[in-house]
Amino acid sequence: MSLTEAQAEAEHLPEQPPGVPGKGPWRLAWERLRRDRAAMISLAVIAVIVLLALLAPVFAAITGHGPQDQFPSEGVTPEGLPVGPSATFWLGADGLGRDLLVRMLYGARISLFVGIVSTLLATVFGVIIGMVAGFYGGWVDTLLARVLDVVLSFPYLLVAIVLAAVYGAGLPLLIFVIAFFSFAAMARIVRGQTIAYREREFIEAARSLGAGKVRTMFVDVLPNLIAPVTVLASLLIPTSIVFEATLSYLGLGVDPRTPSWGAILYEATDYYRVAPGLLLFPALMLLITTLAFNLLGDGVRDALDPRADRR
């Protein structure tokens, strides 16, 4: 029987007994996730934060305060202290008389952008490197695994500090550093999974049908990796957001004038004893965001791997 005949026959085989609707693994995972109340609330919270970030210019237009605009007369009291929440400054102003709410919303854009872009980069490179190492084995694997060991044993803050000292801080460097360290964790997991699949029968089948190595990797191995990769990626997003905030707080992240949550919190240092809102509002926003992503990530893991016994 030729391959096409086999395929044709497989298509005609009833996969389910009649009357029982078929459910794919993704559908099942989604149904499990929907029953997870914490994950669903987190998803809603993330949707709201994304919406607020997208609507940041609208808020700027309504209040008439741009993210960089300073209002030394309205935003700062004659004594030089930032004003508290009011009808014009909904969450108060910072020490330079800038609108805290507008800056926080623009900060959400930076946090989400860094979180998502660096996670995407880390995932693409981590999956490719991990698959190549695991699939090819031999000296390729030995070399790549050693490199990953070295990367993972390096303290990321130290590297970020040295790189910021040589090349100057900034958004591209920030994303590079975050992606560089996340990619190693991703690659290591993908490598382990690939090694586990390499000797399985369906890979042997692909090989005996004459599929090339690259094709086998992407067509036969990759689909099996989607679950663990999705789980790790969803947990990398909050890690990256915290990392961005921390580096910006230390003055090693985005340009200090850019409204990023870390930079806003750093600037609050001088004022939060008199204006606690400058500390509490951005801190709360950052905490809610990372908590929501972490809870969602845990939910995704439980949904994709029902055997995991909810550890």
């Binding site: 803050l157 130290l158 500090i161 000292a165 915290v242 921390t246 230390l250 919190l265």
Partner: protein, 317 residues
């Protein structure tokens, strides 16, 4: 065993050499004027740039500079700080006690809290106390260290000023024990909370794995008390990965608890690095980075050797 230790030490030396070489190339590769400008910072006047070029001998071939750099490193000479004209090794020596006290004080707290939390939730999986622990751990993992630190400072200064706790530079306990406690208690708690969250998760997972093993069932079957099964048979075996993580963490943290030190102004090794980046004091950054890498390498060797004592399978592979 001896060969294993030697092999690990040699690998550690190799890593350190790679780190030093990378750092050297990052800072010193390129035309002499470019390098001098890089070291001096973009705003420094031309005289300073020329002075740096002459005093560091940046005109010489790169390979000569490299061997000088390595030779000085081997002698413990890390160069002179641009800003304070003090030897870098002196600056690092001054900032080490704060970091060391911070790390070991916090380590006591997070090991007690982390292991206790992990055991409590692993012995009663899915119970209320397990759920509560899990939520607390998630909150701890989601909380950025600097935010926790800032909140603690706010509470200490504005809400509980009578506590006497305050942020500030490290004070030696031999000079003023009360002041030592006043500046150290908040950083200890801050670092411990963040670390404990990770350790609860680790202990819980490892403990659940161990308690599912056959020999635990055997211990129960021969009539050992639940307490004996949990602690003598379960916890002892479950702690191996925890100890490994502990060693790695101690090494990384001794290289500078950058965030905690910066938030509380403790003036340890981590804050020294951040300050030098802000001031463009490159000899200090280079020296501190190499010292930090050395801590990590040594800790990794200690962990690997200790691990091979605990688990002989590692040596043989």
């Amino acid at each position: 065993m001896f060969r294993f230790v030697i092999r690990r030490v040699l690998f550690g030396v190799l890593v350190l050499w790679l780190v030093a070489t990378t750092v050297f190339l990052l800072f010193f590769a390129g035309p002499a004027d470019t390098v001098a400008r890089r070291l001096a910072g973009p705003r420094a006047p031309q005289e300073v740039v020329n002075q740096i070029k002459d005093s560091l001998g940046l005109d010489r071939p790169l390979i000569t500079q490299y061997f000088d750099f390595l030779g000085n490193l081997l002698h413990g000479d890390l160069g002179i700080s641009f800003n304070s004209a003090t030897p870098v090794s002196t600056l690092i020596g001054q900032s080490l006690p704060g970091t060391i006290w911070l790390v070991f004080g916090a380590a006591v707290l997070w090991m007690i809290g982390g292991i206790a939390g992990g055991v409590l939730s692993a012995t009663r999986p899915r119970s209320v106390r397990d759920r509560v622990t899990t939520v607390l751990v998630l909150a701890g993992i989601s909380m950025p260290t600097f935010v926790l630190g800032m909140l603690m400072i706010y509470l200490a200064l504005s809400v509980f000023p009578w506590s006497g706790l305050r942020p500030g530079p490290y004070v030696s306990p031999l000079i003023d024990f009360k002041a030592f406690l006043q500046v150290m208690i908040m950083p200890w708690i801050c670092l411990a909370v963040v670390q404990a969250a990770v350790y609860v998760r680790l202990t819980r997972g490892s403990m659940l794995d161990t308690l599912g093993e056959d020999y635990i069932r055997t211990a129960r079957a021969k009539g050992a008390s639940e307490r004996r099964v949990t602690y003598k048979h379960g916890l002892r075996a479950a702690l191996t990965p925890v100890i490994t993580q502990f060693g790695v963490d101690i090494g990384t943290l001794l290289g500078g608890v950058v965030v905690t030190e910066s938030v509380f102004g403790l003036q340890g090794l981590g804050q020294l690095m951040i300050r030098s980046v802000r001031d463009g004091d490159l000899p200090v950054i280079i020296g501190a980075a190499i010292v930090a890498a050395a801590f990590i390498v040594v800790a990794n060797i200690v962990v690997d050797v200790a691990y091979s004592f605990l688990d002989p399978r590692v040596r043989l592979s």
